[in-house]
Amino acid sequence: MQAKSFIRQIASKGAAGPFIGLLAVYLLFAYIGPSSFFSLSTVQAIVRQSAIVGVTAIGMTIVIIGGGIDLSVGSIVALTTVCIAFTLQAGFSSLLALLAAIVVGLMCGLFNGALITKLKVVPFIVTLGSLLVFRGIAKGASGEQKVDAPLTWLNEFLAVLNQNQNWQLFPSGVWIMFLLAIAVFVLLHYTRFGLHVFALGSNEKTAILCGVPVDRIKGLLYVLSGFFAGIAGILQFSRLTVGDPTAAVGLELEAIAAVVIGGGSLKGGEGSIMGTIFGALLMTTIRSGCSQIGLANWVQEILMGAIIIVAVTLDQLRHARRK
């Protein structure tokens, strides 16, 4: 019974709109595009290509629900790939490289969180600054070069599955994204921390009045966002096979777009993990569909921009009607 109500909860947390949008866009491309678009392998590819943005956007969803923003995640991802490559290059185990990546992500998040809560500077500015700082550190550490690393099992997170692996449906990196999404869903809706994040984002004054340790929660938002950027960095490294200080430029904007398409509000207090995942998939579907029917890159970009604005407008209309 508990499981049933859990599923109903997921369904009720406002992800129906983004899901319908995703389905509509996919079917549209399946209709106008080549017949190969309507196939399992295309779906697998779309989901696989969404994993990095998806994982980053999970962290971004928490931050945005809490009324903040984190612009530094793309730079954290780049710094993480460099860090993994160096660790492997020095002969340490893959597991240690993986841990190092997570630690780097957490430290970056802690840096953001500490500045935001101690200096009382708005998150937009702090993370805009740290976007440059982290990117600079990545470039400095790598001497502005790609950092080579030996091939290990770390490179298989987002690999295309071969014939006898096909029962797994998706590579492990995708399953990691799904597991993290479920974990964060539970964190947001079934713990005190989650309640405090929603309260902080809906009305900070009320949160203070009710004794919510506002600074601690705010700091934790960015630590979590850093953690997810670290995981995304592992996936990014997995795909690149090298440490690249210029990787993931603009990833933060894609992650924010995924959150917003998924029903998140930049005013805080609103957002849905399921919606965010659908938002990330929607963007990849458009990109992949456009290239399949041979549309130029610039057309894709214009389309993507239009979709973001349309999605948010629809969401606002839905809200206005409810009132």
Binding site: S5, V186, A199, S202, N203, L209, C210, G211, V212, G269
Partner: protein, 507 residues
């Protein structure tokens, strides 16, 4: 009797600059104004008096154009006047100067005065003309020597007020409405303001002056009007009536409401405040609070009564003095206060009291989520079960514990905010305007609830602008007046008249 005498000498309706006839305004089921008549002549200062909620601000909003009345007509210099926005009003010549001044803090004095009507010459801002206009407006106010280049955030409150008035003069307004202009001024600034108003009067400006301070009204106004329950109760010459008479006119004769009061056992002291001064408004306050009693704090809006309890609850910085809870007297945040079993109900329900975009359950359990957490998880089933009891106990009208706060009426939102304190089961309840803006039935429920809590041995501080309510509910009452808290006295020795005189006297 008094009213007959007064009404007769105000029948003179010649040369009305601004006149409002038979104004009706209703908000939902409540009538804010019923057939209200009001007028002001040029060269006259007309004071508008009334209790909180008597309809003063509604009437002023109608005159200034920020509220469109349901019925009634208005005339400006004899011509029909139908403003739809405050800008319409200003352009027609009626300007409202609010209690909360509206300065752009980064702009200079001259820029603030010309804001919205900046002189432009060949696409560029004509700074020379701007300064000329500002100078001439300030000259009319007798402050022609003011530095036009100072940024507004460097000005004192009274200087800001001056700039705000100059802005209306520069626009050519002939009717000025001042809402509680002296509430945050020192006595010497009040004198300066009065000199300025008299100067404007001699230049044929019409001034509407809203105030709670009756002595000041007697000093500066040529005519006064008392609003009561949305109707004009009386108007006349303030010099011919005493302060006490005006207070009686404001209060009228009310039907006594029934306030439940069971036998309360006063216990030991739980909260001691001595010589408290805060970073905002509170200058000196001392009192003690004991278990099983309700302490009332009376005072005008802006007197510092809310700031007093905010300082106690750790929301405002304490500058001086001591707050002692049991034996603890150190630093406090709302977080530590909840842990010390103190809860605060904010007067500002919409902005602070509740998070309207969250659901009822989240709002209610916010300070007490810890007690509902089971092995780190906050399970909805446990939350909903706890909520159901409270929704039923307080009779909150809603579709369920997961309904959004937005879907509730004000009264029901207030019940949820109050239930937050009850659910946490705090020992000290600080209730700031607990019955503001809610219907009579809910009010009576809240009175009964407060009485019950006192009987159980909780200690309660209640702030209210509505004196009969304080007299009905509290055991002791202290009056806050311009940042200073008077001594608390047993309710049995107090009358509404006496309290009203104390809250409005310029000490």
């Amino acid at each position: 009797m008094i009213s007959d005498k007064l009404n007769s000498n105000s029948k003179n309706t010649s040369t009305n600059r601004l006149e409002a006839r038979d104004i009706d305004v209703t908000f939902g089921a409540t009538t804010a104004l019923a057939k209200a008549n009001f007028s002001v002549k040029s060269g006259e200062i007309h004071a508008l008096l009334g209790e909180n909620g008597a309809g003063k601000s509604t009437l002023m909003k109608v005159l200034a154009g920020s509220l469109i009345p349901d019925r009634g007509e208005m005339f400006l210099d004899g011509a029909p006047y139908q403003p739809h926005t405050p800008l319409d009003g200003r352009l027609a010549g009626v300007a409202m100067i609010y209690q909360e001044l509206s300065m752009a803090p980064h702009l200079t004095v001259a820029e603030n005065i010309c804001l919205g009507l900046e002189p432009i010459r060949s696409l560029l801002l004509d700074r020379h003309e701007m300064e000329k206009r500002s100078r001439s407006a300030l000259d009319k106010l007798g402050h022609g020597n003011m530095d036009l280049h100072r940024p507004a955030d460097e000005l004192s409150i009274s200087e800001q007020q001056l700039v705000e008035i100059a802005r209306s003069i520069a626009l050519g307004c002939k009717v000025l409405i001042l809402d509680e202009p002296t509430s945050s001024l020192t006595r010497s600034d009040v004198d300066k303001l009065f000199a300025l108003l008299n100067r404007l009067k001699s230049q044929d400006y019409a001034i509407i002056y809203i105030s709670h301070f009756i002595e000041e009204v007697r000093e500066v106004a040529d005519r006064f009007t008392v609003l009561r329950d949305g109707c004009v109760a009386v108007s006349g010459d303030p010099k011919t009536v005493s302060t006490d008479e005006i207070v009686s006119l404001m209060l009228g004769s009310k039907t006594a409401a029934a306030y439940p009061r069971s036998d309360r056992n006063i216990g030991n002291t739980i909260l001691t405040v001595s010589n408290l001064a805060s970073a905002s408004k509170v200058e000196s306050a001392s009192f003690t609070l004991r278990r099983g009693e309700v302490l009332g704090i009376a005072g005008l809006v802006g007197s510092g009564r809310t700031e007093l309890v905010r300082a106690i609850f750790g929301l405002d910085a304490v500058l001086k003095g001591e707050i002692k809870i049991g034996s603890y007297s150190g630093q406090a945040t709302p977080h530590t206060r909840w842990n010390q079993s103190i809860g605060y109900l904010s007067e500002n329900r919409k902005d602070e009291g509740v998070a309207v975009s969250m659901d009822i359950a989240s709002n209610l359990i916010l300070p007490s989520a810890k007690s509902l957490t089971n092995r780190g998880l906050l399970l909805p089933a446990a939350v909903d079960a706890a909520m159901k009891t409270w929704i039923e106990k307080l009779n909150v009208k809603c579709s369920g514990p997961r309904a959004k706060m937005l879907s509730l009426s004000g009264g029901n939102q207030q019940k949820v905010a109050l239930a937050r304190l009850l659910f946490r089961d705090v020992d000290v309840l600080i209730l700031d305007e607990p019955t503001r803006g809610i219907d009579v039935k809910t009010k009576n429920q809240i009175y009964a609830l407060i009485d019950n809590l006192a009987k159980e041995g909780k200690a309660i501080i209640m702030i209210s602008s509505y004196l009969p309510e304080l007299l009905g509910v509290c055991d002791r009452i202290a009056v806050m007046n311009r940042g200073k808290l008077g001594e608390s006295r047993p309710t049995s020795n107090l009358t509404e008249q006496q309290l009203m005189v104390e809250t409005v006297s310029a000490n």
